[in-house]
Amino acid sequence: MTDLASLPRRIAARAVGHALAFVARFITAVRADWRGIEPVAKQRVYYANHVSNGDMPMIWTVLPGHMRRQTRPVAAADYWLKNKLRAFVGPEVFNCVLIDRRPEVDDKPLDKIIEALDEGSSLIIFPEGNRNMTDDPLLPFKSGLYNMGKARPHVDLVPTWVANLNEIMPKGEIIPLPLICTVTFGAPIHVEEGESKDAFLKRAADALVALAPENRDEIVTPERAAEPAP
């Protein structure tokens, strides 16, 4: 009975999801670059750089439908439960795994993540923990990625670089700029036998930064410039 009652809500969630994906495509013409993996529904943890609230919807948009349905973003409960609209979009449209960040709550975030993995879901996580406001490509990773990689070693950890979002929608701006966004998926990594936490997190961060396009503000010398176009 509960399923039947929630049917209109689920349809609404699907419709809102398609609308969000359409807006994302209209504004940014977002495109996936499947550099290290194939777009197949395999269980994975997509770990991505985080500069804007638009990051997660971009990754979600470029995932083909069959992958999108089994992929759950890991997100902060305080953000997504702030008002009724967010409480609909976060948990129901994106099917987020909500993590309580408040220090006074005795809730183990990793348990919820492992639970979602054991249900067969793929996850989208932002291991920096916060949006990166610095000029460095990445903030230091939190240990969550290492812990889940160690607890479920068979799951592919896929570095996922979202380009340009810091210009499309910087923190504090309301109107997104229409600029091209590319989501690059790299080759999966795993926690090696006996690898220390710091060594693994450094390796994971390096694999992610390696996917970033070169900084275009640099002056391009003629030798480095691309082939002339026809």
Partner: protein, 314 residues
């Protein structure tokens, strides 16, 4: 549209379909001549282009059949997609966020509104004067002087190229035909066909027997290719002269002019791409890069074609 105009649109549509079918057959025949299991990149590139032309031709035909609004919406979206590509590679900082948002979401729609309302006195100066003065003010108010000149110059360039120039294609709708008919919409088809086909002949003639490059460090374009391209455009213009008010010689001359300015336009775009270190503006059109890669010649040719049409044949 009057029945005569609709008939002419249909005839042109059939002609374009015929040309595209011929190109498709040529492309497949070239493919068949390859030894089995091998592909020639030039042939594959040609086939890919033919696919894109099918798409562009269908879009343009639908827009022409929908009339004024259809044409305006099609080119407004083309401007939006082009600006999206241009600004991705333009110099910008946080302080430009508002002025860039204004450029995309206010100035672009207003420009097409003015074109649609036929306010010639406004749409010809709106971006070169008003946007030119307004956007640097908005950027300066945020108080960031780093590379200021470069930032505002590249924003303005993007608006001129992607909005002002492209909007001169639908602006041809506002041209009053000397015979008072509503056939100005056919001028858009004429313009698009001569520029695109001129480019094709330029590209393949240049590949086959081009020797002297016009700017070797920037582009593989050759003098021979350009001559063949402009001559071909002139012939096609003469064949299509019946849709224009220019007469046989006039149509050939206008086609040659549009084709020549278009080719220099793609040369300028090749220089910009070299400067920015990019090969394609985006991946919007599979196998052919972005919309700007496709439209570079149309962009440069449109304002010239519009103004010469107004000046000489008004």
């Amino acid at each position: 549209m009057t029945p005569e105009t609709t008939t002419d649109v249909a005839i042109l549509g059939l002609a374009v379909t015929g040309i595209l079918i011929a190109f498709t057959i040529i492309g497949e025949a070239l493919r068949l001549r390859q030894p089995s299991g091998q592909t020639d990149p030039v042939v594959e590139a040609f086939n890919m282009r033919v696919h894109t032309w099918w798409g562009l031709a269908i879009l343009l035909t639908l827009a022409v059949l929908a009339g004024r609004i259809g044409i305006l919406l099609l080119f407004a979206f083309a401007s939006f997609a082009a600006l999206r590509e241009f600004l991705t590679f333009a110099r910008k900082r946080r302080a430009d966020h508002l002025s860039l948002a204004l450029a995309c979401f206010v100035i672009l729609p207003l420009q097409y509104l003015f074109v649609g309302l036929d306010w010639t006195a406004l749409f010809t100066v709106f971006i070169p004067v008003y946007a030119f003065l307004l956007l640097p003010i908005v950027s300066a108010l945020r108080g960031d002087a780093t590379n200021f000149m470069g930032r505002v110059a590249e924003t303005q360039w993007g608006l001129m190229i992607c909005v002002f120039c492209i909007s001169h294609v639908p602006a041809l709708l506002t041209y009053d035909m000397p015979d008072g008919s509503d056939r100005s919409i056919l001028l858009i088809v004429f313009f698009a066909m001569v520029v695109q086909l001129g480019d094709v002949f330029e590209y393949y003639a240049g590949r086959r027997f081009g020797r002297r490059k016009i700017a070797p460090k920037i582009s593989p374009k050759t003098v021979e290719g350009m001559i063949v391209g402009v001559l071909a455009a002139a012939c096609i213009g003469a064949i299509l002269s019946w849709v224009t008010p220019f007469g046989l010689v006039g149509a050939a001359a206008m086609a040659a002019l549009a084709s020549l300015t278009g080719m220099f336009g793609s040369l300028v775009f090749a220089a910009i791409k070299r400067d920015k270190g990019v090969k394609d503006w985006s991946h919007l059109i599979p196998g052919q890069g972005g919309l700007l890669d496709q439209l570079d010649s149309v962009i440069f040719a449109a304002p010239i074609f519009y103004h010469v049409t107004q000046l000489v044949w008004s």
